[in-house]
């Protein structure tokens, strides 16, 4: 079954050339774990926003085949630590937005990522790893078929990164949730995902991690930055 289908997709923020995405065709089947890689500004986040229907294609189409989508946005300076909100409030308000009646879902979400103990804490007092896990737990509250993450390891210590990636792998394998994750961390992309989607110059290309590694070696390792094999 298909999960995401893009056909002849063009997108530019100005409505005319140059296009950030310049004729993309993409099919992602359900059950895959796809890492989206590419240099800064290559349009990875833009592609995610198109899947989420935050922005509309300039031409062509991109359609997720499910309505149940979880999203872990890219952390920016605005997801600031000074916002006065507790972990409980973050999850409880989200529960209300999703119109879920049962309050137990908050405890379940926290248990899933092993953070029941921080339920009453302020979000701003958590470590980068802890807050990212809360954001993932929140995205899973709606019981999604498709989970989209934008650079989930940004600002997360190495230990928590490992936990997060093995958690993503687990929900992908055991719960069959399709994962699409924008990665600047190439090691994570290669060792966790089933497919890699490489965006460059507005064009994309889907391959297995093995193919990606081979191609990368052929190019003498200059196409991307921090890889250690």
């Amino acid at each position: 079954m298909l999960m995401i289908k893009a056909e002849n997709l063009f997108f530019s923020y100005t409505g005319s050339s140059p296009y950030v995405l310049d004729g993309i065709d993409l099919e992602i089947r359900d059950g895959e774990y796809v890492s989206v890689v590419g240099e800064n500004g290559s349009g990875k986040s833009t592609l995610m926003r198109l899947i989420l229907n935050f922005i509309k294609p300039t031409s062509g189409s991109i359609v997720p085949q499910t309505k149940r989508i979880g999203y872990v946005p890219q952390k920016n300076d605005f997801s600031n630590s000074s916002f006065p909100i507790t972990v409980y409030e973050v999850l409880n308000s989200y529960r209300r937005l999703l119109k879920i009646k049962n309050k137990d879902i908050i405890t379940e979400a926290l248990e899933q990522v092993g953070l029941l103990s921080v339920k009453g804490s302020l979000m701003g007092t958590l470590s980068g790893g802890q807050s990212q896990k809360i954001r993932i737990a929140r995205a899973l509250m709606g019981n999604p078929d498709l989970l989209i993450l934008d650079e989930p390891s940004t600002g997360v210590d190495i230990g928590s990164q490992k936990e997060i990636y093995s958690f993503l792998k687990k929900i992908n394998k055991e719960n069959g949730i399709t994962v699409v994750s924008v990665e600047h961390n190439l090691n994570a992309a290669i060792s966790n995902s089933t497919l890699i989607y490489h965006l460059t110059c507005g064009q994309g290309h889907l391959c297995t991690p093995q193919q990606y590694t081979d191609e990368f070696m052929k190019n003498g390792g200059k196409s991307n930055d921090n890889i250690q094999l």
């Binding site: 006065p84 507790t86 989200y94 209300r96």
Partner: protein, 273 residues
């Protein structure tokens, strides 16, 4: 006879209760979204609304509410055209408002004095004002309760809100009407010039306590009640405009909380040594 026996004072207290609840309720969202200046701009818009209302022989608070709502919606609308230039939009709306107000006031066509709306006054609250304040306040508070979780999320994480199906643009429009409502309710007593301090300062003070969202909101209301009630009574005894004195008290309360926090943390470090 105490001051409570004066009916003008009873009216003023009645309206002040609603001001002190409504202002921090919308203030917390404005402050956390870094939109405090929108409060200031809309406060000036309300002055234009007052003068238009007086010119047309309508209730000035009604005039303020209608005109400020239109300006709030205009800001929201222009925002999609000047995405990265919110301050430019505010300047446009400010020019429109202040221009209108000055033109009408200086024309000499008003048979009432508009000064009291600049500085605030406790003597001028009419019966009809009180009815307007009551209606606007009740509707606003009910709307805020209904949209609470959606507004929290738009402020905290707009993209996550969108994915959860929140109609962000619609709620932003509704919110600008709520801001207009809070401002219209407040101008009689607080006055245009210091309105933005009533919106921002109690929230700024509550933020110092480092609590979650709901508690921060509750403390904002507590500080707001303290600021406005003290401002009202002391300004009465000093025979000065309540707006100015309320603003001074809200700064004083903020400074007091900051100092208390500083003291507490230095006691803590001293203990650790």
């Amino acid at each position: 006879m105490t001051i409570f026996n004066y009916s003008f004072m009873q009216n003023a207290i009645f309206v002040s209760v609603f001001i002190s609840i409504l202002c921090p309720c919308i203030g917390i969202f404005l402050v956390l979204r870094r939109y405090s200046m929108i409060g200031d701009t809309l406060a000036h818009a309300s002055l234009a609304g007052v003068t238009i209302g007086l010119l047309l022989n309508q209730n000035p608070i009604l005039g303020a509410f209608v005109f400020t709502s239109i300006c709030g919606a205009l800001i929201e609308f222009l925002r999609s055209y000047f995405k990265k230039y919110t301050d430019l939009i505010l300047t446009i709306v400010l020019s429109l408002s202040v221009g209108t107000a000055i033109t009408i006031i200086s024309s000499g066509k008003l048979h009432v004095n508009a000064d009291s709306f600049m500085f605030g006054s406790i003597l001028t609250v009419t019966h009809f004002d009180m009815i307007m304040v009551l209606i606007l306040s009740v509707i606003s508070v009910l709307t805020l309760i209904l949209l609470y979780h959606q507004m929290v999320y738009i402020a905290y994480d707009e993209e996550a809100a969108k994915v959860a199906g929140v109609k962000v643009r619609l709620i932003n429009y509704i919110f600008s009407i709520l801001v207009a409502s809070a401002i219209s309710v407040s101008i009689r007593i607080v006055g245009v010039l210091v309105l933005s301090s009533m919106i921002a300062l109690p929230v700024a003070t509550a933020l110092q306590l480092g609590k979650g969202f709901k508690l921060t909101l509750v403390f904002s209301i507590v500080f707001s009640v303290i600021d406005i009630m003290l401002g009202l009574f002391i300004s009465y005894y000093l025979n000065v405009a309540p707006g100015g004195f309320t603003a001074l008290i809200s700064v004083a309360v903020l400074v007091f909380v900051l100092l208390a926090k500083k003291l507490q943390s230095s006691i803590r470090t001293a203990r650790c040594k």
